[in-house]
Protein backbone atom coordinates (compact mmCIF):
# COMPACT_ATOMS: atom_id res chain seq x y z
CA UNK A 1 0.00 0.00 0.00
CA UNK A 2 1.21 3.50 -0.71
CA UNK A 3 0.98 6.42 1.70
CA UNK A 4 -2.39 7.61 0.44
CA UNK A 5 -3.89 4.13 0.59
CA UNK A 6 -2.61 3.67 4.14
CA UNK A 7 -4.09 7.01 5.18
CA UNK A 8 -7.45 5.99 3.71
CA UNK A 9 -7.21 2.66 5.49
CA UNK A 10 -6.43 4.34 8.82
CA UNK A 11 -9.42 6.60 8.29
CA UNK A 12 -11.73 3.65 7.64
CA UNK A 13 -10.38 1.79 10.65
CA UNK A 14 -10.97 4.74 12.97
CA UNK A 15 -14.54 5.20 11.77
CA UNK A 16 -15.38 1.53 12.17
CA UNK A 17 -13.73 1.49 15.58
CA UNK A 18 -15.79 4.48 16.71
CA UNK A 19 -18.99 2.91 15.41
CA UNK A 20 -18.58 -0.31 17.38
CA UNK A 21 -17.58 1.52 20.55
CA UNK A 22 -20.45 4.00 20.39
CA UNK A 23 -22.90 1.20 19.59
CA UNK A 24 -21.94 -0.62 22.79
CA UNK A 25 -21.02 2.41 24.89
CA UNK A 26 -17.63 0.91 25.71
CA UNK A 27 -14.04 1.53 24.66
CA UNK A 28 -11.05 3.72 25.36
CA UNK A 29 -11.70 6.05 22.45
CA UNK A 30 -8.92 8.55 23.07
CA UNK A 31 -6.21 5.95 23.72
CA UNK A 32 -7.05 4.06 20.54
CA UNK A 33 -7.17 7.17 18.38
CA UNK A 34 -3.64 8.08 19.42
CA UNK A 35 -2.27 4.85 17.97
CA UNK A 36 -4.59 4.23 15.00
CA UNK A 37 -2.03 5.22 12.36
CA UNK A 38 0.73 3.26 14.10
CA UNK A 39 -1.42 0.14 14.06
CA UNK A 40 -2.43 0.67 10.44
CA UNK A 41 1.17 1.01 9.30
CA UNK A 42 2.22 -2.03 11.33
CA UNK A 43 -0.49 -4.33 10.03
CA UNK A 44 -0.64 -3.13 6.42
CA UNK A 45 2.97 -2.30 5.72
CA UNK A 46 5.47 -3.56 8.29
CA UNK A 47 4.49 -6.82 9.93
CA UNK A 48 4.86 -10.19 8.31
CA UNK A 49 2.04 -12.73 8.65
CA UNK A 50 0.20 -15.27 6.55
CA UNK A 51 -3.57 -15.35 6.76
CA UNK A 52 -3.62 -18.79 5.12
CA UNK A 53 -1.30 -20.04 7.84
CA UNK A 54 -2.10 -18.01 10.98
CA UNK A 55 0.13 -20.21 13.14
CA UNK A 56 3.13 -19.76 10.84
CA UNK A 57 6.04 -19.97 13.32
CA UNK A 58 8.01 -17.20 11.62
CA UNK A 59 5.21 -14.66 11.61
CA UNK A 60 5.99 -11.40 13.36
CA UNK A 61 4.37 -11.00 16.76
CA UNK A 62 2.46 -7.99 17.97
CA UNK A 63 1.84 -7.43 21.67
CA UNK A 64 -0.55 -4.65 22.65
CA UNK A 65 0.79 -3.90 26.09
CA UNK A 66 -1.27 -0.68 26.41
CA UNK A 67 -4.19 -2.96 25.97
CA UNK A 68 -6.90 -0.37 26.61
CA UNK A 69 -6.11 0.69 23.04
CA UNK A 70 -6.62 -2.80 21.69
CA UNK A 71 -10.11 -2.24 20.31
CA UNK A 72 -8.53 -0.38 17.40
CA UNK A 73 -7.07 -3.73 16.30
CA UNK A 74 -10.50 -5.34 15.93
CA UNK A 75 -11.52 -3.51 12.74
CA UNK A 76 -8.02 -4.19 11.42
CA UNK A 77 -8.24 -7.92 12.18
CA UNK A 78 -11.65 -7.88 10.50
CA UNK A 79 -10.46 -6.02 7.44
CA UNK A 80 -7.46 -8.28 6.86
CA UNK A 81 -9.53 -11.40 7.44
CA UNK A 82 -8.66 -12.83 10.85
CA UNK A 83 -12.19 -12.28 12.13
CA UNK A 84 -15.52 -11.77 10.44
CA UNK A 85 -17.71 -8.68 10.42
CA UNK A 86 -20.34 -10.75 12.21
CA UNK A 87 -17.84 -11.55 14.95
CA UNK A 88 -16.81 -7.89 15.15
CA UNK A 89 -20.42 -6.98 15.81
CA UNK A 90 -20.36 -9.11 18.97
CA UNK A 91 -18.00 -6.57 20.53
CA UNK A 92 -18.86 -6.23 24.22
CA UNK A 93 -22.07 -8.24 23.83
CA UNK A 94 -22.82 -10.60 26.70
CA UNK A 95 -20.72 -13.72 26.29
CA UNK A 96 -18.47 -12.36 23.55
CA UNK A 97 -14.70 -12.82 23.82
CA UNK A 98 -14.30 -9.56 21.93
CA UNK A 99 -14.00 -7.17 24.84
CA UNK A 100 -12.54 -3.80 25.71
CA UNK A 101 -9.27 -5.59 26.38
CA UNK A 102 -8.11 -8.12 23.84
CA UNK A 103 -7.72 -11.80 24.60
CA UNK A 104 -5.48 -14.43 23.11
CA UNK A 105 -8.55 -16.42 22.09
CA UNK A 106 -9.37 -13.75 19.49
CA UNK A 107 -7.94 -14.90 16.13
CA UNK A 108 -4.85 -12.87 15.23
CA UNK A 109 -4.32 -11.74 18.81
CA UNK A 110 -1.07 -12.89 20.44
CA UNK A 111 -1.54 -11.66 24.01
CA UNK A 112 -4.23 -11.21 26.65
CA UNK A 113 -3.95 -7.77 28.16
CA UNK A 114 -5.65 -5.46 30.56
CA UNK A 115 -2.99 -5.05 33.23
CA UNK A 116 -0.29 -2.56 32.33
CA UNK A 117 3.42 -3.24 32.44
CA UNK A 118 3.35 -6.90 31.44
CA UNK A 119 3.44 -6.93 27.64
CA UNK A 120 7.01 -5.78 27.20
CA UNK A 121 8.36 -8.61 29.36
CA UNK A 122 6.25 -11.11 27.43
CA UNK A 123 7.66 -9.61 24.22
CA UNK A 124 11.16 -10.15 25.62
CA UNK A 125 10.38 -13.84 26.05
CA UNK A 126 9.04 -14.03 22.49
CA UNK A 127 12.12 -12.24 21.16
CA UNK A 128 14.42 -14.55 23.12
CA UNK A 129 12.68 -17.60 21.65
CA UNK A 130 13.01 -16.21 18.11
CA UNK A 131 16.67 -15.42 18.65
CA UNK A 132 17.40 -18.92 19.90
CA UNK A 133 15.58 -20.41 16.92
CA UNK A 134 17.61 -18.22 14.55
CA UNK A 135 14.30 -16.96 13.21
CA UNK A 136 14.20 -13.54 11.59
CA UNK A 137 10.73 -12.82 12.92
CA UNK A 138 10.30 -9.57 14.83
CA UNK A 139 8.36 -8.81 17.97
CA UNK A 140 6.55 -5.48 18.09
CA UNK A 141 5.25 -4.21 21.40
CA UNK A 142 3.15 -1.07 21.81
CA UNK A 143 3.36 0.52 25.25
CA UNK A 144 1.84 3.73 26.48
CA UNK A 145 4.00 6.55 27.80
CA UNK A 146 2.15 6.59 31.10
CA UNK A 147 2.45 2.80 31.15
CA UNK A 148 6.19 3.43 31.32
CA UNK A 149 5.60 4.63 34.87
CA UNK A 150 5.13 0.94 35.80
CA UNK A 151 8.34 -0.43 37.31
CA UNK A 152 8.05 -3.76 35.51
CA UNK A 153 8.56 -1.97 32.18
CA UNK A 154 12.04 -1.02 33.29
CA UNK A 155 12.91 -4.54 34.39
CA UNK A 156 12.12 -5.60 30.84
CA UNK A 157 13.93 -2.65 29.25
CA UNK A 158 17.07 -3.49 31.22
CA UNK A 159 16.75 -7.19 30.35
CA UNK A 160 16.29 -6.61 26.62
CA UNK A 161 19.14 -4.13 26.40
CA UNK A 162 21.54 -6.32 28.34
CA UNK A 163 20.67 -9.38 26.27
CA UNK A 164 20.83 -7.54 22.93
CA UNK A 165 17.36 -8.56 21.78
CA UNK A 166 17.67 -6.80 18.44
CA UNK A 167 14.52 -8.45 17.12
CA UNK A 168 12.43 -6.57 19.68
CA UNK A 169 10.77 -3.29 18.70
CA UNK A 170 9.17 -1.32 21.50
CA UNK A 171 6.89 1.45 20.29
CA UNK A 172 6.01 4.07 22.87
CA UNK A 173 2.75 5.86 22.15
CA UNK A 174 3.76 9.26 23.46
CA UNK A 175 0.36 10.90 23.72
CA UNK A 176 1.49 12.58 26.91
CA UNK A 177 -1.55 11.68 28.98
CA UNK A 178 -2.38 9.16 31.65
CA UNK A 179 -5.81 8.36 33.03
CA UNK A 180 -6.35 11.62 34.82
CA UNK A 181 -3.58 14.03 33.92
CA UNK A 182 -0.73 14.85 31.61
CA UNK A 183 2.27 12.75 32.54
CA UNK A 184 4.47 15.81 32.85
CA UNK A 185 2.31 16.64 35.88
CA UNK A 186 2.52 13.18 37.41
CA UNK A 187 5.77 11.31 36.66
CA UNK A 188 7.29 12.28 33.36
CA UNK A 189 9.30 9.74 31.36
CA UNK A 190 11.68 12.32 29.89
CA UNK A 191 14.42 12.14 28.87
CA UNK A 192 13.27 8.95 27.16
CA UNK A 193 16.03 8.88 24.55
CA UNK A 194 18.77 9.09 27.16
CA UNK A 195 17.06 6.51 29.32
CA UNK A 196 16.66 3.99 26.52
CA UNK A 197 20.15 4.54 25.14
CA UNK A 198 21.52 4.22 28.65
CA UNK A 199 19.87 0.81 28.90
CA UNK A 200 21.48 -0.32 25.66
CA UNK A 201 18.68 0.36 23.19
CA UNK A 202 18.66 2.16 19.87
CA UNK A 203 16.18 5.03 20.10
CA UNK A 204 14.27 6.77 17.33
CA UNK A 205 11.62 9.43 17.55
CA UNK A 206 8.63 10.18 15.34
CA UNK A 207 7.50 13.78 15.69
CA UNK A 208 4.03 13.21 14.30
CA UNK A 209 2.62 9.75 14.87
CA UNK A 210 -0.43 10.51 12.78
CA UNK A 211 1.67 11.15 9.69
CA UNK A 212 1.87 7.97 7.63
CA UNK A 213 5.05 9.05 5.87
CA UNK A 214 6.93 9.60 9.10
CA UNK A 215 5.83 6.21 10.39
CA UNK A 216 6.79 4.43 7.17
CA UNK A 217 10.17 6.13 7.32
CA UNK A 218 10.95 5.06 10.87
CA UNK A 219 10.00 1.42 10.20
CA UNK A 220 11.61 1.26 6.75
CA UNK A 221 14.78 -0.58 7.79
CA UNK A 222 13.41 -2.27 10.89
CA UNK A 223 14.09 -5.77 9.56
CA UNK A 224 17.57 -5.08 8.20
CA UNK A 225 18.94 -2.83 10.95
CA UNK A 226 22.68 -3.16 11.41
CA UNK A 227 22.49 -2.58 15.17
CA UNK A 228 22.42 -5.51 17.55
CA UNK A 229 20.41 -3.50 20.06
CA UNK A 230 16.65 -3.63 20.65
CA UNK A 231 14.85 -0.72 19.06
CA UNK A 232 12.64 1.79 20.85
CA UNK A 233 10.55 4.13 18.76
CA UNK A 234 9.02 7.03 20.64
CA UNK A 235 6.03 8.24 18.65
CA UNK A 236 4.56 11.64 19.46
CA UNK A 237 0.79 11.38 19.19
CA UNK A 238 -2.36 13.13 20.31
CA UNK A 239 -4.81 11.35 22.55
CA UNK A 240 -8.22 11.55 20.89
CA UNK A 241 -6.65 12.70 17.63
CA UNK A 242 -9.18 13.89 15.07
CA UNK A 243 -11.91 14.67 17.59
CA UNK A 244 -11.47 18.18 19.01
CA UNK A 245 -13.86 17.70 21.90
CA UNK A 246 -11.84 14.71 23.11
CA UNK A 247 -8.31 16.07 22.82
CA UNK A 248 -6.25 17.55 25.64
CA UNK A 249 -8.80 16.44 28.23
CA UNK A 250 -7.18 13.75 30.38
CA UNK A 251 -10.28 12.92 32.38
CA UNK A 252 -11.82 11.46 29.22
CA UNK A 253 -9.57 8.40 29.39
CA UNK A 254 -11.79 5.35 29.05
CA UNK A 255 -14.86 7.40 28.26
CA UNK A 256 -17.11 6.57 25.35
CA UNK A 257 -19.41 9.27 24.08
CA UNK A 258 -23.03 8.21 23.70
CA UNK A 259 -26.21 9.61 22.17
CA UNK A 260 -25.72 12.80 20.16
CA UNK A 261 -22.14 13.08 21.30
CA UNK A 262 -21.50 9.55 20.05
CA UNK A 263 -23.00 10.43 16.67
CA UNK A 264 -20.87 13.54 16.60
CA UNK A 265 -17.75 11.48 17.28
CA UNK A 266 -18.47 9.11 14.38
CA UNK A 267 -19.35 12.00 12.06
CA UNK A 268 -16.25 13.96 12.97
CA UNK A 269 -14.09 10.96 12.19
CA UNK A 270 -15.93 10.39 8.92
CA UNK A 271 -15.34 14.01 7.94
CA UNK A 272 -11.77 14.03 9.15
CA UNK A 273 -9.49 14.83 6.23
CA UNK A 274 -6.19 14.62 8.06
CA UNK A 275 -3.59 12.95 5.87
CA UNK A 276 -6.05 12.35 3.04
CA UNK A 277 -5.41 15.45 0.94
Amino acid sequence: MNTKELAIKAHEIKVRFAEICVARGVGHITSALSCAEIMTVLYYSVMRYDLKNPEWPDRDRFVMSKNHGSVITYPILTDIGYITEEFLNTFECDGSVLGAHSKICVPGCEFSGGSLGIGLGVSCGMAWAAKNENSDRLVFCLVGDSECQEGSIWESVMFAGFNRLRNLVMIVDRNGEGCTDFIEHTVDIEPLREKMEGFGWEYREVNNGHNINELLQVFSDVRERASDKPLCIGVRTIKGHGVPFLTNKPWLHGQTPSGEEGELLVNLLKEEKYGLE
Partner: protein, 303 residues
Amino acid sequence: MGSNKTRDIIFNPIIDRLVADDYYVINVDRNGIPFIAMEKIDPMRSISVGIAEQNMISVACGLALSGKRVVTYSSGPFAYLRAYDQLRNAMCLMNLPVTVVVSSESRVSSRFGFTHHMTEDYQLLALCPNLRFFSVADVATAHAVSDYILSGVEGPTYVRLEFECDGDLEAVENPNLKKGFRKVRSGSGALVLAQGCSVVTACETAFATQPAIIDVFGHPFNIEALYEEILKYKKVIVFDERQTVGGLGSELLGYANEHGINKQITMVCVQQTKKLTETCGEREYWMRISGVDNAAIKAAVDD
Protein backbone atom coordinates in the same frame (compact mmCIF):
# COMPACT_ATOMS: atom_id res chain seq x y z
CA MET B 1 18.61 -29.74 58.86
CA GLY B 2 17.51 -29.16 55.30
CA SER B 3 19.10 -29.30 51.89
CA ASN B 4 18.57 -28.69 48.20
CA LYS B 5 17.63 -32.31 47.62
CA THR B 6 14.10 -31.65 46.39
CA ARG B 7 15.29 -28.79 44.18
CA ASP B 8 17.80 -31.14 42.58
CA ILE B 9 15.14 -33.82 42.13
CA ILE B 10 13.10 -31.30 40.16
CA PHE B 11 15.90 -29.71 38.14
CA ASN B 12 18.48 -32.45 37.48
CA PRO B 13 16.22 -34.31 35.00
CA ILE B 14 15.48 -30.99 33.33
CA ILE B 15 19.23 -30.38 32.93
CA ASP B 16 19.50 -33.82 31.33
CA ARG B 17 16.69 -33.02 28.89
CA LEU B 18 17.36 -29.31 28.47
CA VAL B 19 18.16 -29.30 24.78
CA ALA B 20 16.33 -32.43 23.61
CA ASP B 21 13.01 -31.33 25.08
CA ASP B 22 13.41 -27.61 24.34
CA TYR B 23 13.34 -26.53 27.99
CA TYR B 24 14.01 -22.99 29.11
CA VAL B 25 14.86 -22.29 32.74
CA ILE B 26 14.55 -18.75 34.05
CA ASN B 27 15.88 -17.86 37.43
CA VAL B 28 16.37 -14.89 39.66
CA ASP B 29 19.96 -13.87 40.22
CA ARG B 30 21.56 -17.08 38.86
CA ASN B 31 20.16 -18.95 41.79
CA GLY B 32 22.06 -22.10 42.63
CA ILE B 33 24.47 -24.59 41.18
CA PRO B 34 22.09 -26.38 38.75
CA PHE B 35 21.74 -23.19 36.78
CA ILE B 36 25.45 -22.78 36.35
CA ALA B 37 25.43 -26.31 34.93
CA MET B 38 22.61 -25.38 32.57
CA GLU B 39 24.45 -22.31 31.36
CA LYS B 40 27.37 -24.55 30.42
CA ILE B 41 25.09 -26.79 28.38
CA ASP B 42 23.32 -23.96 26.59
CA PRO B 43 23.39 -20.38 27.89
CA MET B 44 20.39 -19.48 25.72
CA ARG B 45 18.24 -21.93 27.69
CA SER B 46 19.29 -20.81 31.14
CA ILE B 47 18.16 -17.25 31.51
CA SER B 48 18.87 -15.01 34.46
CA VAL B 49 16.65 -11.98 34.76
CA GLY B 50 18.56 -10.53 37.69
CA ILE B 51 16.50 -9.73 40.76
CA ALA B 52 13.32 -9.09 38.84
CA GLU B 53 10.50 -11.51 39.58
CA GLN B 54 7.92 -9.67 37.51
CA ASN B 55 10.07 -9.85 34.44
CA MET B 56 10.86 -13.49 35.22
CA ILE B 57 7.21 -14.43 34.89
CA SER B 58 6.59 -12.16 31.89
CA VAL B 59 9.59 -13.52 29.97
CA ALA B 60 8.47 -17.05 30.84
CA CYS B 61 5.05 -16.25 29.36
CA GLY B 62 6.60 -14.93 26.14
CA LEU B 63 8.67 -18.08 25.76
CA ALA B 64 5.63 -20.26 26.45
CA LEU B 65 3.65 -18.30 23.86
CA SER B 66 6.44 -19.25 21.46
CA GLY B 67 5.93 -22.94 22.18
CA LYS B 68 8.71 -23.44 24.72
CA ARG B 69 8.65 -25.48 27.91
CA VAL B 70 9.52 -23.08 30.67
CA VAL B 71 10.44 -23.56 34.33
CA THR B 72 11.29 -20.66 36.63
CA TYR B 73 13.13 -20.78 39.91
CA SER B 74 13.39 -18.22 42.66
CA SER B 75 13.62 -18.02 46.42
CA GLY B 76 11.14 -16.83 48.97
CA PRO B 77 7.67 -15.47 48.48
CA PHE B 78 8.53 -12.84 45.87
CA ALA B 79 7.48 -14.83 42.80
CA TYR B 80 3.88 -14.84 44.01
CA LEU B 81 3.89 -11.54 45.91
CA ARG B 82 5.76 -9.12 43.66
CA ALA B 83 4.77 -10.89 40.47
CA TYR B 84 1.19 -11.78 41.40
CA ASP B 85 -0.16 -9.57 38.62
CA GLN B 86 1.96 -11.37 36.05
CA LEU B 87 1.02 -14.78 37.51
CA ARG B 88 -2.69 -14.09 37.57
CA ASN B 89 -3.16 -11.91 34.53
CA ALA B 90 -0.62 -13.31 32.10
CA MET B 91 0.49 -16.84 33.01
CA CYS B 92 -2.79 -18.12 34.40
CA LEU B 93 -5.22 -16.08 32.33
CA MET B 94 -3.59 -17.26 29.12
CA ASN B 95 -3.31 -20.79 30.57
CA LEU B 96 0.37 -20.99 29.69
CA PRO B 97 2.48 -24.07 30.38
CA VAL B 98 4.92 -22.37 32.72
CA THR B 99 6.11 -24.05 35.90
CA VAL B 100 7.03 -21.67 38.70
CA VAL B 101 9.23 -23.31 41.32
CA VAL B 102 9.82 -21.40 44.53
CA SER B 103 12.07 -22.44 47.33
CA SER B 104 12.04 -21.45 50.95
CA GLU B 105 14.66 -22.09 53.54
CA SER B 106 12.41 -21.69 56.53
CA ARG B 107 15.34 -21.78 58.94
CA VAL B 108 16.77 -18.72 57.24
CA SER B 109 13.50 -16.92 56.52
CA SER B 110 12.55 -17.03 60.20
CA ARG B 111 15.65 -14.95 60.84
CA PHE B 112 14.96 -12.60 57.92
CA GLY B 113 11.47 -11.82 59.15
CA PHE B 114 7.95 -11.47 57.86
CA THR B 115 8.98 -10.30 54.36
CA HIS B 116 10.47 -13.76 53.73
CA HIS B 117 7.67 -15.92 55.14
CA MET B 118 5.61 -17.81 52.59
CA THR B 119 2.44 -17.70 54.64
CA GLU B 120 -0.19 -16.88 52.03
CA ASP B 121 0.73 -18.51 48.71
CA TYR B 122 -2.15 -20.99 49.00
CA GLN B 123 -4.63 -18.18 49.52
CA LEU B 124 -3.43 -16.14 46.55
CA LEU B 125 -2.78 -18.98 44.14
CA ALA B 126 -6.10 -20.70 44.79
CA LEU B 127 -7.70 -17.65 43.19
CA CYS B 128 -5.74 -17.91 39.94
CA PRO B 129 -7.57 -19.49 36.99
CA ASN B 130 -6.17 -22.71 35.49
CA LEU B 131 -3.34 -23.01 38.05
CA ARG B 132 -2.22 -26.28 39.65
CA PHE B 133 0.06 -26.02 42.61
CA PHE B 134 1.99 -28.40 44.79
CA SER B 135 3.58 -28.20 48.23
CA VAL B 136 6.40 -30.69 48.43
CA ALA B 137 6.86 -32.31 51.85
CA ASP B 138 9.38 -35.03 51.00
CA VAL B 139 11.42 -36.63 48.25
CA ALA B 140 8.58 -38.93 47.17
CA THR B 141 6.38 -35.96 46.33
CA ALA B 142 9.31 -34.20 44.69
CA HIS B 143 9.78 -37.21 42.39
CA ALA B 144 6.05 -37.30 41.57
CA VAL B 145 6.03 -33.58 40.76
CA SER B 146 9.20 -33.96 38.71
CA ASP B 147 7.55 -36.73 36.68
CA TYR B 148 4.54 -34.48 36.16
CA ILE B 149 6.69 -31.62 34.89
CA LEU B 150 8.68 -33.90 32.61
CA SER B 151 5.52 -35.42 31.19
CA GLY B 152 4.77 -31.99 29.74
CA VAL B 153 2.58 -29.74 31.82
CA GLU B 154 -0.33 -28.36 29.87
CA GLY B 155 -1.05 -25.31 31.98
CA PRO B 156 0.37 -23.05 34.66
CA THR B 157 1.95 -24.86 37.59
CA TYR B 158 3.46 -23.67 40.87
CA VAL B 159 5.72 -25.83 43.02
CA ARG B 160 6.66 -24.91 46.57
CA LEU B 161 9.85 -26.45 47.87
CA GLU B 162 11.26 -26.07 51.35
CA PHE B 163 14.73 -26.97 52.50
CA GLU B 164 13.28 -28.62 55.59
CA CYS B 165 11.22 -31.03 53.46
CA ASP B 166 14.06 -33.11 52.04
CA GLY B 167 13.52 -36.40 53.87
CA ASP B 168 11.67 -39.63 53.26
CA LEU B 169 8.47 -39.62 55.30
CA GLU B 170 7.84 -43.30 54.55
CA ALA B 171 4.22 -42.44 53.94
CA VAL B 172 1.61 -45.17 53.91
CA GLU B 173 0.43 -43.96 50.48
CA ASN B 174 2.33 -42.78 47.45
CA PRO B 175 1.50 -39.33 46.13
CA ASN B 176 -1.25 -39.47 43.53
CA LEU B 177 -1.27 -36.15 41.72
CA LYS B 178 -4.80 -36.56 40.42
CA LYS B 179 -6.10 -36.97 43.96
CA GLY B 180 -3.88 -34.23 45.35
CA PHE B 181 -3.52 -35.75 48.81
CA ARG B 182 -2.09 -38.86 50.39
CA LYS B 183 -2.22 -40.54 53.75
CA VAL B 184 1.16 -40.28 55.42
CA ARG B 185 0.33 -41.93 58.76
CA SER B 186 -2.53 -44.15 59.77
CA GLY B 187 -4.15 -43.36 63.08
CA SER B 188 -7.35 -43.19 65.01
CA GLY B 189 -9.48 -40.58 66.67
CA ALA B 190 -8.00 -37.49 65.10
CA LEU B 191 -7.04 -36.56 61.56
CA VAL B 192 -4.38 -33.98 60.82
CA LEU B 193 -4.50 -32.37 57.39
CA ALA B 194 -1.18 -30.72 56.67
CA GLN B 195 0.96 -29.30 53.90
CA GLY B 196 4.69 -28.87 53.31
CA CYS B 197 6.77 -28.37 56.44
CA SER B 198 3.75 -28.96 58.66
CA VAL B 199 3.55 -32.55 57.40
CA VAL B 200 7.12 -33.05 58.58
CA THR B 201 6.40 -31.38 61.92
CA ALA B 202 3.29 -33.51 62.47
CA CYS B 203 5.20 -36.69 61.63
CA GLU B 204 7.90 -35.76 64.13
CA THR B 205 5.48 -35.01 66.98
CA ALA B 206 5.05 -37.52 69.79
CA PHE B 207 1.29 -37.71 70.32
CA ALA B 208 -0.46 -39.51 73.16
CA THR B 209 -2.48 -41.35 70.50
CA GLN B 210 -1.18 -41.36 66.95
CA PRO B 211 -3.54 -39.40 64.69
CA ALA B 212 -3.94 -40.07 61.00
CA ILE B 213 -1.94 -37.57 58.96
CA ILE B 214 -2.90 -36.60 55.45
CA ASP B 215 -0.61 -34.50 53.27
CA VAL B 216 -2.77 -32.26 51.07
CA PHE B 217 0.07 -31.54 48.69
CA GLY B 218 -1.85 -30.57 45.56
CA HIS B 219 -4.38 -27.98 44.51
CA PRO B 220 -6.96 -28.40 43.21
CA PHE B 221 -7.41 -31.68 45.08
CA ASN B 222 -10.24 -34.18 45.02
CA ILE B 223 -12.31 -32.56 47.75
CA GLU B 224 -15.08 -35.17 47.66
CA ALA B 225 -12.56 -37.95 48.27
CA LEU B 226 -10.89 -35.92 51.00
CA TYR B 227 -14.24 -35.43 52.75
CA GLU B 228 -14.80 -39.17 52.67
CA GLU B 229 -11.66 -39.42 54.77
CA ILE B 230 -12.49 -36.44 56.96
CA LEU B 231 -15.88 -37.87 57.95
CA LYS B 232 -14.24 -41.04 59.29
CA TYR B 233 -12.63 -39.12 62.14
CA LYS B 234 -13.99 -37.62 65.31
CA LYS B 235 -11.62 -34.70 65.33
CA VAL B 236 -10.16 -32.94 62.30
CA ILE B 237 -7.34 -30.42 62.42
CA VAL B 238 -5.81 -28.38 59.62
CA PHE B 239 -2.15 -27.83 60.45
CA ASP B 240 -0.35 -25.42 58.16
CA GLU B 241 2.54 -22.96 58.14
CA ARG B 242 0.29 -20.58 56.28
CA GLN B 243 -2.15 -18.08 57.69
CA THR B 244 -5.63 -19.16 58.66
CA VAL B 245 -7.63 -16.73 56.53
CA GLY B 246 -8.42 -18.14 53.10
CA GLY B 247 -6.26 -21.23 53.54
CA LEU B 248 -6.94 -24.95 53.28
CA GLY B 249 -9.22 -24.91 56.33
CA SER B 250 -11.30 -22.09 54.92
CA GLU B 251 -11.66 -23.92 51.63
CA LEU B 252 -12.77 -27.12 53.36
CA LEU B 253 -15.27 -25.31 55.57
CA GLY B 254 -16.64 -23.43 52.58
CA TYR B 255 -17.27 -26.73 50.82
CA ALA B 256 -18.90 -28.19 53.94
CA ASN B 257 -21.16 -25.18 54.26
CA GLU B 258 -22.19 -25.43 50.62
CA HIS B 259 -22.90 -29.16 50.84
CA GLY B 260 -24.66 -29.26 54.19
CA ILE B 261 -21.85 -31.13 55.91
CA ASN B 262 -21.75 -30.48 59.61
CA LYS B 263 -18.16 -31.05 60.62
CA GLN B 264 -16.02 -28.95 62.87
CA ILE B 265 -12.49 -28.35 61.65
CA THR B 266 -9.90 -26.90 63.99
CA MET B 267 -7.26 -24.64 62.48
CA VAL B 268 -3.71 -24.76 63.74
CA CYS B 269 -2.26 -22.25 61.33
CA VAL B 270 -0.10 -19.16 61.43
CA GLN B 271 -1.61 -16.40 63.50
CA GLN B 272 -0.71 -12.92 62.34
CA THR B 273 0.48 -11.13 65.44
CA LYS B 274 2.84 -8.27 66.13
CA LYS B 275 5.41 -10.83 67.24
CA LEU B 276 5.15 -12.52 63.85
CA THR B 277 5.47 -9.33 61.84
CA GLU B 278 8.00 -7.53 63.99
CA THR B 279 10.32 -10.08 65.54
CA CYS B 280 12.76 -12.66 64.27
CA GLY B 281 14.64 -15.62 65.65
CA GLU B 282 15.46 -19.30 65.17
CA ARG B 283 12.97 -21.41 63.23
CA GLU B 284 11.81 -22.99 66.48
CA TYR B 285 11.03 -19.53 67.85
CA TRP B 286 9.14 -18.62 64.68
CA MET B 287 7.09 -21.84 64.82
CA ARG B 288 6.29 -21.22 68.48
CA ILE B 289 5.15 -17.61 68.10
CA SER B 290 3.24 -18.49 64.94
CA GLY B 291 1.43 -21.31 66.72
CA VAL B 292 2.56 -24.03 64.32
CA ASP B 293 5.13 -26.02 66.32
CA ASN B 294 5.06 -29.54 67.72
CA ALA B 295 3.48 -28.33 70.96
CA ALA B 296 0.64 -26.63 69.13
CA ILE B 297 -0.34 -29.65 67.05
CA LYS B 298 0.14 -32.00 70.00
CA ALA B 299 -2.17 -29.86 72.12
CA ALA B 300 -4.81 -29.76 69.40
CA VAL B 301 -4.71 -33.54 68.86
CA ASP B 302 -4.33 -34.69 72.46
CA ASP B 303 -6.76 -32.20 73.96
